[in-house]
Symmetry: C2
Subunit: 548 residues, 2 copies
Amino acid sequence: MTGPMTGQMMEMPLLVSELLTHAARHNGDTEIVTRRVEDGAIHRYTWRDCERRARQLAQALARLGVQAGDRVGTLAWNTYRHLEAYYGVSGSGAVVHTINPRLFCEQLTFIVNDAQDGVVMFDVTFAGIVDLLAPQCPSVRHWVAMTDRASMPEMKTPVECYEDLVQAESGDYAWPLLDERSACGLCYTSGTTGHPKGVLYSHRSNVLHALVSAGPNALGISSREVVLPVVPMFHVNAWGIPYSGAAAGAKMVLPGRALDGASVYELIESEKVTFTAGVPTVWLALLNYMEQAGVRFSTLKRTLVGGAALPPAMQDAFQQKYGVQAIHGWGMSETSPIVTVGNLTSGLAEQSASAQEAALRKQGRTLFGADIKIVDEHGNDLPWDGVAFGDLYARGHWVCERYFNHPDSALRDGWFPTGDVATIDPDGYMQITDRSKDVIKSGGEWISSIDVENIAVAFPGVAEAACIAAHHAKWAERPLLVIVRKPGATVTREELLKFYEGKVAKWWIPDEVVFVDEIPHTATGKILKFKLRERFADYLVQHAGASQ
Amino acid sequence: MTGPMTGQMMEMPLLVSELLTHAARHNGDTEIVTRRVEDGAIHRYTWRDCERRARQLAQALARLGVQAGDRVGTLAWNTYRHLEAYYGVSGSGAVVHTINPRLFCEQLTFIVNDAQDGVVMFDVTFAGIVDLLAPQCPSVRHWVAMTDRASMPEMKTPVECYEDLVQAESGDYAWPLLDERSACGLCYTSGTTGHPKGVLYSHRSNVLHALVSAGPNALGISSREVVLPVVPMFHVNAWGIPYSGAAAGAKMVLPGRALDGASVYELIESEKVTFTAGVPTVWLALLNYMEQAGVRFSTLKRTLVGGAALPPAMQDAFQQKYGVQAIHGWGMSETSPIVTVGNLTSGLAEQSASAQEAALRKQGRTLFGADIKIVDEHGNDLPWDGVAFGDLYARGHWVCERYFNHPDSALRDGWFPTGDVATIDPDGYMQITDRSKDVIKSGGEWISSIDVENIAVAFPGVAEAACIAAHHAKWAERPLLVIVRKPGATVTREELLKFYEGKVAKWWIPDEVVFVDEIPHTATGKILKFKLRERFADYLVQHAGASQ
């Protein structure tokens, strides 16, 4: 017998419903704990309960007329009901469309209409937003308040009650055997310019991302972990944790809307959280609270930090003060999101603590199933020497090929251009040096705005820093530092610029410092540099006489 | 837009070549260390080298006329050349057929002919076997000695030299984009009766097994681990470690043919091994050596034990004496093999050490991607109460659907009957109580021969124990214990039977003890109970007057 032959193993699709049924069957008593949105009280149930209610929700959605492929929007915090929506919607063959409630109303309207959501489920917190959206979103046939009858908000829009819908159903429902390439979830990127664009995840891409991102090179989620995703479930599937947590059979802790330092700390301690994940701004609030309250972690071991660069000072605070490993992760909506995570090679594990620390400052190494490269302006590969920097491209089983409603491929030669600029070192550690549009080109040479910012935020009294390209008569562009001081702090231009000496090449030191009360951010917490450039791009030209 | 829709993520097949190219690209400097078969010397190179040579091997195989789907056999130890064969053969679209050289010559002949291997690659150790096989295996067009020109063995059979073939090629070869359901590997089960049957793994099943089995609920292999698979690569893909190690980017240590306690210990220490995996008999030799030599581990943290039950005494020796976690794994050739692994739930992680110990004595909990159930003789589900025992069935992405050359499905109602008898407790911990054909039915009630054996091997002076069903006039069957004493030990029938008191129900205590010099084993180290039954099935009837 010659010629291709097929393996003779069982053929089963990779479906997110399998993640949930596995958790219910093999980790049925493991808890899911939520701080309720309505009243801040603690709600607890199990993976077994979650699976049963997700089946009831699937039945309720069918009764509302939701069919395979239909989009069901959510405007919701991290709660057990949102988790039920993840599985009840996708498991039944519809597409869960997680909407970022922090976006502006115009963007929300655009997104709901672009997705053509037929049903939108929302936490009571967002009743006001729904009343604004409803008249402009004709595709939405049903708005569902994710609460019980007693807590229904007063609204202009006719809405239905989640608990009434779910509890009316029997749960006598079998998850359908879908094609694993079927659409599973939809998430819009909150670009700093232009309309948001949707990324349409498949069941296969979400399950593969869950298996790999739960692995020992990444989040390391096992059945004995207690996992608190602070990263919102409306933001790139909370980095896949609702899926990876189910695959691992972990205990889940969902913080609802209370993301202040005191509330997050209280939840970590009371539920014995061992692993958490979120963006730096949340950790800043947590660390500040702990500093003021004089408290420590008793169970937390690791935290994954992504969405924006983890400042070295924050990494050190976690590690040195609290014994918590703060791990860098990198990715984006278009990459599901996790592509690289800070982890050690066996070679580095034998080297000095300082060599390991230097490696773990970077954005991490590429997980199996994904790949990265850096290229120059002509698309040629750049060396992995830790010095050359260029446009970062990604590919892999959970990387976007095209955007929703955009028929053209988003790829170039089979790779997704991330819009980031990065270096890669010989051990595969990638370091983001800039968004490609934020890079500073001084006399034809590139300066990393992120490196310049990291130094500034390590200076006592600096709350936040942004480094932008300012026009310059001689060098075309020169770095300008925009600083927000901590309350009561007295940082001066001179001491801050002196702080750079010996830390970067001399020509990387900013020409000037501007102190402001506030730096503008996107809805997901990223600095809006183009707003700063609108304001300060000509600062050096205008002040040339004064300081140069 | 309504109706099913497809996700818009990149579509790439899951192929084992992707595991290797990932390791070469992102862990290129990470070492693969082998104790050479030819001379016991240490050979070291990297994942980058391995990938290049696997490409050269793929070219060499094409030159020998190997086409997609063709079977290429290996008779080989755990070495870098065997690893190259895993990837070079499968990556090119052919099927790597790992042959167990410990089988009898008739079985080997049957297997090679059933597989219709076109090429067989062998370690020089097995030159004698090849000379016996060659005249009886007409499908084999090329026998390849896995060595260099200087170490070629003298043989009757015309053979080719692996290094000559590989080094003649340029390596200018691109791994083909195969269908992920293509056959990847073939492994024959060494059943205790009947002809061996082949299990035909697919690329998809091997990659999914690698991702899940490397996970934190299972082997926990990360890029910082140093992994020594003592389990042979001719035995169910060495439990997938050649694949999971590549996915993780781990340093690999391959022991060649030297599996004695001193050699394995020396390799663990010199290469700083952190994780290892193998069958109990190898660990017994290792622990005996360490006891005699008075040495300890300095880097080893965990070992996965499978293939046969891990005796509690061995688990304790690893944990209490050496601080090494000995983890139970369960599976079989038909399940790729890993289905369950001993791991803790978050609930158990908070309970007492003794509660955890009791749970970790069992064969473990089911990994995502697989599922198990226990059924009675009518196929009805039995409760997961830790007491009820019945036939164990398995299913999942890496479970066999049918055997090679056997067109009929091997499944019953979509589940694979494993031939094991087991209990499952409410936390999902499965415990094998018997092979279904080894179970003892005393007066209609089942007795677990494995439980009876585990107690016997914990008795000082007992080297090995087998408990079999012996005919009995009143109870139909009663347990008979067959014992091999340790050299010089003086175990008596009376003290051994007394040792059972208080450890099991009184009616589980064996009726009689037979002392023998040796217990027969299969080629993979399993006790051949049917041989013992041939000899001792009527022992109680014949000796009824003497001892009852």
